[in-house]
Symmetry: C2
Subunit: 371 residues, 2 copies
């Protein structure tokens, strides 16, 4: 069955209305909606409208605060600490990233830590924000415990993503946006939906042994019974699993420990009877002004040269293309802006439920009109 496609603006408008109906101020609702749609446009569907229900539940149960008191706790010339007041991660994140960019434009570098926040969507969105100000952007966040440390069998760290974006000249910007685990949680859920077994080296069971049993893994994770996703580099140290574990830990130190947010199991304490409890997610944002180091045009020309050198290099047997990070997502965005965003039937059903419960119209474009 072909999935129906919806225009980005339609989707954005619907999400914004949902957030506003739940008490989120207009600008915050617009930002959050924009982030969800940006994820869908870029093909990171797990962080797009498929995630809407979790925010709706969070806002309804008071686990996420619709109109939080966001406070600037501490500030130096090139750093700041923001307390998000338990609000949605997206408006808090955008505010923090804007401040990091402002500081970079004034003094070369800006770094802002955020505590008392929630899931902030795709890490790349914030890093990309820096590009318009001719900065290199950095964004990371901690998250619910899903990843086991090397030689362990308890999920303690999040999939803790890192994003770094840098502009190029004629080529597209470099946008690294990666979970520090072998795979993000979304990929497990996708495989589960498609009833596909996991690949070996993605996750371990409650005894710490590699497993491909996706159902057991997801159950273990949601009930915190043991086992979890492996860090980038896989099991043990032979292929560098300790490196992925180290990167995840680094993200937790910068996003969680440095700003006084939650960390490890304290990011999302487990509520009784599986109930959601307020989390204390931490983020970390950075911006570096390129002109502080080198003339911008030189930087961009050099980026083009480096990108072309990589893309133009000899391919491995059976391969036809070498990618730069972000390239697949830029292409996906072009395609989806033209043809609309495909919605999985399950996602569509959830959207209809949300619309009904909030008494909102859900008017989706006619796919034929979108094409």
């Amino acid at each position: 069955m072909k999935e129906p496609r919806v225009g980005a603006e339609t989707l954005r408008h619907f999400c914004q209305q949902v957030f506003e109906r739940l008490g989120v101020p207009e600008e915050d609702a617009a930002i959050t909606a924009d982030l969800l749609v940006a994820a869908d446009l870029r093909g990171i569907d797990s962080h797009g409208v498929a995630h809407l229900k979790r925010y709706v539940d969070g806002l309804r149960t008071g686990v996420m605060i619709a109109n939080p008191r966001v406070q600037l706790i501490k500030e130096t010339f090139s750093t700041a600490l923001i307390d998000g007041g338990g609000g949605l991660g997206q408006p808090i994140g955008v505010q923090a990233m804007r401040l990091a960019i402002e500081k970079a434009r004034e003094g070369g570098a800006g770094f802002v830590a955020v505590r008392n926040s929630n899931h902030y969507g795709i890490a790349g969105y914030y890093a990309i924000m820096a590009l318009a100000s001719d900065c290199i952007g950095i964004s990371m966040t901690n998250a619910s415990p899903l990843v086991v440390p090397t030689f362990g069998r308890e999920a303690i760290l999040g999939t803790n993503p890192i994003s770094v974006a840098a502009p190029a000249g004629q080529e597209r910007p470099f946008v690294l946006d990666m979970a520090t685990s072998v795979v993000p949680r979304g990929k497990l859920e996708l495989y589960h939906r498609l009833a596909k077994p996991l690949l070996k080296g993605w996750a371990v069971d409650e005894r710490g042994n590699t497993t491909t049993d996706i159902g057991a893994i997801l159950k273990n994770l949601s009930e915190r019974l043991g086992g979890g996703i492996l860090p980038l580099g896989g099991e043990g140290e032979e292929l560098g699993g300790h490196k992925g574990y180290g990167l995840a830990l680094m993200v937790d130190i910068l996003s969680g420990v440095l700003g006084g947010a939650g960390y490890a199991h304290r990011v999302h304490p487990k509520g009784e009877g599986g109930k959601m409890k307020p989390g204390n997610v931490g983020h970390f944002f950075g911006a570096l002004l390129i002109e502080a180091f080198r003339p911008l045009d030189e930087f961009k020309t050099t980026m083009d040269d480096l990108i072309r050198r990589l893309k133009g290099s000899a391919k491995a047997e059976g391969e036809s293309r070498i990618y730069i990070h972000g390239e697949k997502e830029w292409e996906m965005e072009e395609e989806r802006r033209k043809r609309g965003i495909p919605l999985h039937p399950q996602v569509l059903t959830t959207m209809e439920q949300i619309a009904e419960e909030l008494n909102l119209p859900l008017i989706l474009d006619n796919p034929s009109k979108v094409c």
Copy 2:
């Protein structure tokens, strides 16, 4: 055969004399010697005195400048760009890291890019420097092309290491110091010395297929015939190889492109007939003042808690210990400070040759005295 052990101070003194004899100013020679011995103490033998010969050759052939003109090219409140004048990477790196720390102490964050430098030893040394000033330290460098991009078969990027260090309270500091490839070059050379086959997933041959033929790989790399080490995450995208590739590229952008150093194949242009040519290695250093975000004692207490949570968590079947990054190295350093640094016979022979050529005494302690 048991390897002879040498005291750290003896080794440091010998290396310093070697550098001074080759025209390196006293303080620079001391710094460079200290970095080599620090690598040996921490068990990163490939970057210790085993590497001395390369610096000696570099200085003798003029590929590395003994007494370079180091220039501060550009400076803002929280950033700087330093041109290393083609000198040894270690004294340039230490100078740059000191500047980053100074800027962090003044304004919360300091970031310094370096161009026109050479191999700077272990990345962790510079990150650790930040700890004494109650900062989080960041250090990275690009390097000779050894790593193939995902779906490629040409080594274009270096093993481009990243190091991040953060202090703890009663626990030892967190010190991540990792090549962004599955394994560093040193590990290949070690396996070659021991005549062990490579593990699958470490490297690809000139057609881009996984290989365990260590001799062929090293030959291919030194003659740039194709093939190379795989990025962290291994071959293709299934286990996240594109993430390691992205991290290596990020390091090249920050260390190479941002400061106008070499990048990719331009870090070390290939000379005719295998001759060494001056390189243009780039580094990137950063420091973040912890007090700019959070009271130092709170940070340290929280780090202790996070570290204990990880170390105290359940172990995978057959495993008895979970490590924090840097922990193995701190323990190795304690042991080697007590018992001396073991020297491989081949390394010892090279040292004897260097001593003879430079007309220097090579007085090694009696191992029984060192113990």
